[in-house]
C-alpha cells in the first residue's frame, strides 16, 4: 500500500504557476483522494501535478477517450521501474508485441474456464480458510481471509500450487513497492530482487512438468500457446500477474465486505437475492477502485479535456476519480449496489483491459462473499479498532476487524 507515497519526486513548490495541480500533495491523496479528485474534475480535469510528475486525468469522459486511443496514449512508458523490477511484461508493451503475449496468457482466464474449473477450487480455498477461523469467533478479514484467499487462488491459477500464500503475498508486495521506488531506496530494490529470484525459482520448478503435462494453468497456457512464450517472457508475465492479480481481489473482497457490513439494507438485499452479489462487486470496484491510477505516456502532442499535452508526457489515468464522476454516477460517493447502469472503468479499457476480471468476479462475488456471509453466523464489524483506508494508486481498507457467533 505504500506505492502511492513512494511516487514523490519533488515538492509541490517546484512549479511557480498557481494551478490546482501544483498544490496536490501525495500524502493527502494517499489518505483520502476523493475530495481532491472532485476539485480536479471541476476545475482542472487534466492537471499537471508536479508531486506525481504526471498529468492526472480526472474525468470519466476523458479517461474513456484516452483508453480508446492506445496509439497516442502508449503503455510503453520510458524508464519504467516496473521493467527494472519484473522484466518487460505485457502491461508495458503496445500493439502486436503486446497482443501476442496477452493471447498466450488469456485462455485460462476466460469466463468458461473460470466457471467450470476455477470456481470449484476457489470454493475449496474459501471453505478451508473459514474452517480454520470459525471457532475463534473473530478475525481481521483482510489479514486472515482476503489476503491468503487471493494468494492461494492466484497460485492455483498461475500453475504454482505449491507456493505458500505468505510467499506469494511477500513477492507481490515487494515487487509492487519497487515499481514505485522513485526515491531509489536500496532496501526496496534488494527486497524486490529477492522476490523476483524466488519467483523465477518457483517457475523453474514447474516448467518441466507443465511442458510434459499441460493443464488449465496460466504458465501451461503460455508454454503451449500457438505462439508459445519464451522462458524469459513467462518469467516477466508471471511477475506482473503476481503483482497485479493479488492485492486487487484482496482489496475488493475486503472493501465490499466492509460496505455490506455497514449498509444493513443492502446486505439484507444480497442475502435475500444471490443474483445481487455481482452488482455488489461492480459497485465495490466503482466505489473504491482497487487500482486508482495507472500510467501512460503520450506518443504525440494531443489535446485532452481542453488541455494541450506535449509528446512524451507522462500521464496518470485516474480511474478512481472517473468512477466518482458526478456527471456519470448520481451521488457518486454513496455505495449503492442498485445503481443502474454502472458504467465504471475499474478494469481499465482498451488493449490492456484487465485479463483477470472474470477470475476476480468469481473469487470475490460468486465464492468469497456468499461463503463468509452464509457460514459466519451473525457476522458483524467489531467495535474496534476502527477500519482505516489508504492509498490512491492502489486503495483499500488497511484492516477489517469482524466478529461472529460460532
Amino acid at each position: 500500500m505504500s506505492t502511492g507515497s513512494a511516487m514523490s519526486t519533488g515538492s509541490a513548490m517546484s512549479t511557480p504557476s498557481a494551478t490546482l495541480g501544483a498544490t496536490v500533495e501525495l500524502a493527502r491523496l494517499w489518505s483520502d483522494p476523493y475530495p481532491i479528485y472532485r476539485e480536479l474534475r471541476r476545475r482542472e480535469p487534466v492537471a499537471w501535478v508536479p508531486a506525481a510528475n504526471r498529468y492526472l486525468v480526472a474525468r470519466h469522459r476523458d479517461v474513456v477517450a484516452l483508453e480508446r486511443d492506445p496509439e497516442t496514449f502508449s503503455a510503453a512508458e520510458r524508464d519504467s521501474l516496473m521493467i527494472r523490477v519484473m522484466g518487460h511484461t505485457m502491461i508495458r508493451k503496445d500493439g502486436a508485441a503486446h497482443a501476442r503475449e496477452r493471447a498466450a496468457a488469456e485462455p485460462p482466464m476466460r469466463p468458461r474456464v473460470v466457471a467450470n474449473h476455477w470456481t470449484t477450487l476457489f470454493q475449496r480455498t474459501a471453505d478451508e480458510l473459514v474452517d480454520g477461523l470459525y471457532d475463534r469467533g473473530e478475525a481481521d478479514l483482510l489479514r486472515d481471509f482476503a489476503g491468503p484467499y487471493a494468494a492461494r487462488n492466484l497460485g492455483l491459477v498461475l500453475g504454482l500450487p505449491d507456493a505458500a500464500p505468505a510467499d506469494l503475498q511477500e513477492w507481490s508486495q515487494a515487487m509492487m513497492d519497487a515499481t514505485g521506488n522513485y526515491v531509489d531506496d536500496p532496501t526496496v530494490w534488494r527486497r524486490s530482487q529477492t522476490a523476483a529470484q524466488q519467483v523465477d525459482d518457483a517457475i523453474d520448478d514447474v516448467l518441466g512438468h507443465l511442458r510434459r503435462r499441460p493443464d488449465e494453468s496460466v504458465i501451461s497456457a503460455m508454454l503451449h500457446a500457438t505462439d508459445p512464450l519464451s522462458v524469459e517472457e513467462i518469467r516477466a508475465n508471471v511477475k506482473v500477474i503476481i503483482g497485479g492479480g493479488l492485492n486487487e481481489p484482496r482489496d475488493s473482497l475486503a472493501v465490499g465486505a466492509w460496505a455490506l457490513l455497514t449498509h444493513p439494507e443492502q446486505r439484507a438485499a444480497v442475502e435475500a437475492d444471490p443474483s445481487l452479489w455481482r452488482r455488489a462487486f461492480e459497485e465495490t470496484v466503482r466505489w473504491v477502485s482497487p487500482i486508482g491510477m495507472y500510467p501512460r505516456q503520450t506518443t504525440r502532442e494531443v489535446v485532452l479535456g481542453g488541455t494541450r499535452i506535449e509528446a512524451g508526457a507522462r500521464i496518470g489515468v485516474l480511474i478512481g476519480s472517473a468512477n466518482r464522476d458526478e456527471t456519470v454516477f448520481a451521488d457518486p460517493d454513496r455505495f449503492d449496489l442498485h445503481r443502474k447502469p454502472n458504467s465504471h472503468v475499474a478494469f481499465g479499457g482498451g488493449p490492456h483491459f484487465c485479463l483477470g476480471s472474470w477470475l476476480a468476479r468469481s473469487q470475490v462475488s460468486q465464492v468469497a462473499w456468499p461463503t463468509l456471509f452464509r457460514r459466519l453466523p451473525g457476522l458483524q464489524l467489531a467495535p474496534e479498532p476502527e477500519v482505516e483506508l489508504g492509498g490512491w494508486v492502489f486503495r483499500g481498507v488497511l484492516n477489517l476487524p469482524v466478529r461472529w457467533t460460532p
Binding site: E67, R68, P70, E106, R110, P111, R112, A115, E282, K340, P341, N342, S343, H344, V345, F347, G348, G349, G350, P351, F353, L355, S357, W358
Partner: protein, 107 residues
C-alpha cells in the same frame, strides 16, 4: 456506406454510418452511442458490447463464434436468442439498415 440503426431501451434511435470493415462496436462508440461500452477494445473479453439483433435480421449475420458464445453467458443484461457481441460483427453493405437493440446495462 452501410447504415446501422442502434435503438436505446427507451426507443431512441441512432442512425450511424458504419464504414465497411469496422465493427458495430467501433461504429457505435465512434458515434457517441453510449449504450455500447466496448471496454476491451474488441477482443471478446469484456462482454460490454452486448446487443440484440431481431431474429428476422439475424439471418444476415455470421454464426456465433466460440469466444462470442462464451462471453454472452456473462453479460450484465439477460442473454436471449437475439444476443450478439457487436465487436464481433463487421459492417458491410449486407448489413445496411440493420436494427440493433441496446440492453439496459453493460456492466
Amino acid at each position: 456506406m452501410p447504415k446501422i440503426i442502434y435503438v436505446d431501451p427507451d426507443g431512441t434511435r441512432h442512425v450511424v454510418d458504419a464504414p465497411d470493415g469496422t465493427s458495430l462496436m467501433q461504429a457505435a462508440v465512434a458515434n457517441g452511442v453510449e449504450g455500447v461500452l466496448g471496454e476491451c477494445g474488441g477482443s471478446a473479453m469484456c462482454a460490454t458490447c452486448h446487443v440484440y439483433v431481431d431474429p428476422a435480421d439475424g439471418g444476415r449475420l455470421p454464426e456465433l463464434g466460440a469466444d462470442e458464445d462464451e462471453m454472452l453467458d456473462s453479460t450484465a443484461s439477460p442473454r436471449t436468442t437475439a444476443s450478439r457481441l457487436s465487436c464481433q460483427l463487421t459492417a458491410s453493405e449486407d448489413l445496411d439498415g440493420l436494427v440493433v437493440r441496446l440492453p439496459e446495462e453493460q456492466i
